[in-house]
Symmetry: C2
């Protein structure tokens, strides 16, 4: 399998390029617009054919590469059915499967960071977007975020995956690339709560500044970054 995790230094975003084999079809998750030329070069060098570009949700901290990639490669663009973006070619719902050659991603609806947040399960690994981060969780204070929904997404969906499931998030801010469900269960400070209400209190008390690109990124991303 071809599996490439790619980092965007401006927004601390991880994008993922996946393909089952050289010469075959590829999927990209959470591409960043400014890195699209880099992705296209790598796609060409790896001799793969981009057929699907997915955003785990409408991002507020970077501009998506979905539109640019679609324009160049004619790939299918995907967001969850709850999204307000009307630029994608496919809107998926919980349980849907996305395939490319031998790859299959299963969509898990995991709202809470936003109301259109999805995670994607692929065999031994899960792409958790901004729902589950390494030793953290995504903020829940805008774009219809909801700490109660996020608690449910975390404790009743993601943490029920096998402990050895590899966790690949959409961001990290300390230089870590991946984790496992078992590790996050034990060591993620936000997942050590005793109740849903305690989680909601923690998230409501965060009082974070808005992402600096939010006023540009969200409207742009509702148009797939075009």
């Amino acid at each position: 399998m071809i599996f490439r995790q790619l980092f965007d230094y401006e927004s601390y975003t991880y994008s993922y390029l996946l393909a089952s084999r050289a010469g075959g079809e590829a999927i990209i998750i959470d591409p960043v617009k400014s890195n699209v030329p880099q992705y296209l070069k790598l796609i060409s060098e790896l001799d793969i054919n981009l057929v699907v570009a997915i955003d785990t949700h409408v991002h507020a901290d970077h501009i998506t590469g979905l539109g640019d990639l679609r324009d160049v490669t004619n790939c299918v663009t995907i967001l969850g059915s709850q999204t307000k973006a009307d630029c994608v070619s496919q809107k998926i719902k919980d349980g849907d499967k996305i395939t490319a050659d031998q790859l299959t991603l299963q969509a898990l609806y995991t709202p809470g960071h936003t109301d259109d947040s999805y995670s994607f399960l692929m065999n031994d690994r899960v792409f958790t977007g901004d729902t589950l981060l390494i030793r953290s969780t995504g903020r829940t204070d805008f774009q219809n975020g909801d700490p109660k929904q996020q608690y449910d997404s975390l404790f009743n969906k993601l943490l029920r995956l096998p402990d050895n499931t590899l966790v690949y998030p959409a961001h990290d801010y300390k230089g870590w690339m991946m984790s496992t469900i078992g590790e996050e269960k034990k060591f993620n400070p936000r997942l050590q709560v005793k109740s849903e209400s305690e989680y909601i209190e923690i998230m409501k008390a965060l009082k974070l500044d808005n992402p600096k690109l939010m006023d540009i990124a969200v409207p742009s991303n509702l148009k797939c970054g075009r």
Copy 2:
């Protein structure tokens, strides 16, 4: 296997934490001093026991965590036999094997970036330090660097590994985590030369500024960062 690639945002350094199993022995490659508390926390959480800390060479762009890790964990510290540092507990040479539980690293002497540069081969992957970078190679203009030696290390050692060998370098500056020997053979611009003399010319023409931490990092690293 536990395999963690960890990134240092200040110096764009990749460090690698390896262990064959939870509860077992671990090796760290190219640790950064300022991240040692983070490594120790992760080592504890993963329930592994650090027994070896290796620098691929005496770094000029960050201060090594070798000394601090040794002080806390009593791990063996390793550099190549050509190093001027006299603080390590073991100096290895080409072909030597380093083991921890089921892990075995084979040392490959790959001078050129510095005269004490080593790469480490572990089954399907090679840690290339500053010798082979993703689509680039390490500079050769200080610490007894030598483009002629680097050409030999690249073309007569690293590029002779199987094409599907995974390449894990000590740095990347564009957000890429890994590559393969086959990819670098085909697409690394510096490896498309027709002769050793052409490679030497390219490297001599680079005229790079010194790393900003060089005057602090090199003397400090000769004392294992202590």
